[in-house]
């Protein structure tokens, strides 16, 4: 199963609910296109909900980093919500846990955007 992405608006924040696998190929492409499309529409407050992401490889990690830097460079914010243990561990060992702002509760995550 590859990735599925759906977006919803909560106040000024666009929440992207992702499910499936973020891996080289379709998975990372869908994530990249979703972030680009949001930026193209002027949506610069993005919360990626990774609660249903079952698997992520180094290409997927690279795509998360790419999204983070692209959004930041345009003056926006990209944050992560609901990491599974697997994804949490991956971000930890790659030291990216300190780069991303990670939340476990959606309402608090929404409030954290400035």
């Amino acid at each position: 199963m590859s990735i599925k992405a759906s977006t919803r608006q909560v106040e000024e924040v666009t929440v992207v609910d992702l499910s499936g696998r973020i891996t080289l190929g379709e998975g990372s492409t869908v994530l990249r296109d979703t972030v680009r499309e949001l930026l193209g529409r002027g949506q610069k407050k993005i919360l990626l909900n990774l609660g249903d992401v079952t698997y992520i490889d180094s290409s997927g990690i690279g795509e998360l980093v790419s999204g983070f830097t692209t959004v930041s460079n345009q003056g926006g914010q990209l944050k992560l919500l609901n990491l599974t243990k697997k994804v949490h561990d991956l971000l930890q060992i790659t030291k990216l846990y300190t780069v991303f702002e990670v939340h476990n509760e959606e309402a608090a995550a929404i409030r954290s955007f400035t």
């Binding site: 891996t23 080289l24 190929g25 490889d57 180094s58 290409s59 990690i61 690279g62 795509e63 980093v65 790419s66 983070f68 830097t69 697997k86 991956l90 060992i93 790659t94 030291k95 990216l96 780069v99």
Partner: protein
Amino acid sequence: MSSRHDVDKPVVLSLDSSLDSVDKAEEEVLRIAESHGFGEEDLQKIGMAVRESMVNAVLHGNQYDPEKKAGVKVEMYNGGLAITITDEGAGFELVDVPDPLAQENLLRHSGRGIFLIRAFMDELQVRRLVPRGTEVRMVKYRSEEDGSNPNQ
């Protein structure tokens, strides 16, 4: 298919340079690892390491060239599972791979594959092949706390 493989007989595959081959290699290696009693946590690590190595082989090594193959060899080695993945690309040396944990590399979009393989497997060797290509050999031993049953 569920029977345990002969420990003295390696399983050897020659795969096309495509993303489908990444899935095929992962499935085959995991099937063998499971038949040798590796537990779920080990299987996840092995699967991820194989995916990363295969992506390196078909994408960075063979660059999806249909004329080039990715080789996969799986065998038991000193009680562990040894997986050797080869490509026919230009080759690379481990010392040339930037440290993805270095501050200046943290926000790079790529370059974490080898690091993850090293993190998930117990042994890793990389050597350049002559006249071309790279061989990545990795070994995973069963984790005691993984609930694996070596007699399975």
